[in-house]
């Protein structure tokens, strides 16, 4: 009975399993462990991607992040937490998206069709403003962009951000103000 339980863990047991243990299970051939990692981390990856990528490409880029994670998991060394590693992977995929767009010489402010506005229920002006801000975010120094994403896209509290970035709370809030000031400058340009 116990052996059977251990061989096929219930969803509840899996839900309580740490990321590192799930990664090990995945390496041992339990492919369903990846499904749980996906369920656990998709919301934060999706929100981060959605914050910096035009709406039509959000799912595509999000999926690319997880495909890259799937391919790299066997070599994941665990030097950092899985969430941190995934965050870095997401940033790489976002940068890659913009590199490809630049190479194709597609305008970052692509013409916004009426179809876009209808599907999202937003006005064309609102979508343009969104793309404009996303472009400004891409031009910020990495540490500025990162703190804005952590606060607004991932909805982390300032004390959580401080812990994550190994800074004290005051330094984190100071960085946040400088980041917003830099964003304002880019938006005013």
């Amino acid at each position: 009975m116990t052996t059977k339980y251990m061989e096929k863990p219930s969803n509840q047991v899996l839900l309580e399993t740490a990321d590192e243990a799930l990664i090990q299970q995945f390496r041992d051939g339990k492919k369903e462990a990846f499904d749980l990692l996906y369920h656990r981390h998709l919301p934060s990856v999706y929100r981060r991607v959605r914050y910096v990528i035009p709406e039509n490409d959000v799912e595509d880029v999000t999926q690319e992040v997880f495909i890259a994670a799937l391919k790299s998991l066997p070599s994941f060394r665990g030097d950092s937490k899985f969430g941190t590693w995934l965050r870095t992977l997401t940033n790489h995929k976002v940068a890659e998206f913009y590199r490809k767009r630049t190479r194709k010489q597609e305008p970052l402010l692509a013409p916004l069709s009426d179809a876009n506005a209808h599907t999202t229920g937003s006005t064309s002006k609102h979508l343009e403003e969104r793309v404009y801000i996303q472009r400004a975010l891409q031009h910020l120094p990495e540490n500025y962009r990162e703190i804005i994403l952590l606060r607004f896209a991932e909805d982390l509290q300032f004390n959580e951000i401080a812990e994550l970035t190994h800074q004290n709370l005051e330094a984190t809030k100071s960085l946040f103000r400088r980041a917003i000031a830099a964003l304002r400058t880019h938006l005013d340009d």
């Binding site: 914050y51 607004f152 938006l187």
Partner: protein, 155 residues
């Protein structure tokens, strides 16, 4: 230097951070009335950011659908990356091992076909278990088997 002083203002840092917290909680939809123009300007930027890209969440059903689509995409990419069996078999340049096996089999078949012709006056009763032809076939088979064994070990 003046820029350094401008940013060294913990009080302003706290006020802006508190404002951002209230915006994220949905309790601040307007800028706070402050005599500090700089702070007001930064609060406007925070509001502008939040209005343009409001917070969003992904529901459980969407997560499941996206996982299904991810798996389908991974399968498609794997299929696209794996050439068909026939392509692999006949792509001798890129797969020398299979090429060698095919060559060995071809030689064996040639030997098998030509053995009766090489035996003068061969008849239905002339063959024995130790005839030259049979030894040749057996030798060829063993060679192929040994070749396959070593090639599979190399993989």
């Amino acid at each position: 230097m003046s820029q350094q002083n401008e940013f060294n203002d913990p009080k302003k840092d706290n006020l802006l951070a508190d404002f951002a917290d209230r915006v994220m909680e949905g309790t601040a939809v307007q800028i706070a009335s402050s005599p500090d123009e700089e702070l007001v300007s930064l609060e406007k930027t925070v509001l502008r950011l939040n209005d343009a890209i409001p917070p969003a969440s992904v529901d459980e059903a969407s997560v499941k659908q996206m996982l299904v689509r991810l798996k389908a995409r991974v399968r498609r990419e794997e299929q696209a990356a794996t050439p068909s069996l026939w392509k692999r078999l006949f792509d001798i340049q890129s797969n020398l091992q299979i090429g060698m096996i095919l060559a060995a089999v071809a030689v064996l078949v040639l030997v098998f076909i030509s053995v009766p012709a090489l035996q003068p006056g061969g008849s239905a009763v002339s063959g024995t278990a130790f005839s030259g032809g049979n030894i040749l076939i057996a030798g060829g088979l063993i060679t192929v088997l040994v070749l396959v064994y070593f090639l599979s070990r190399r993989k």
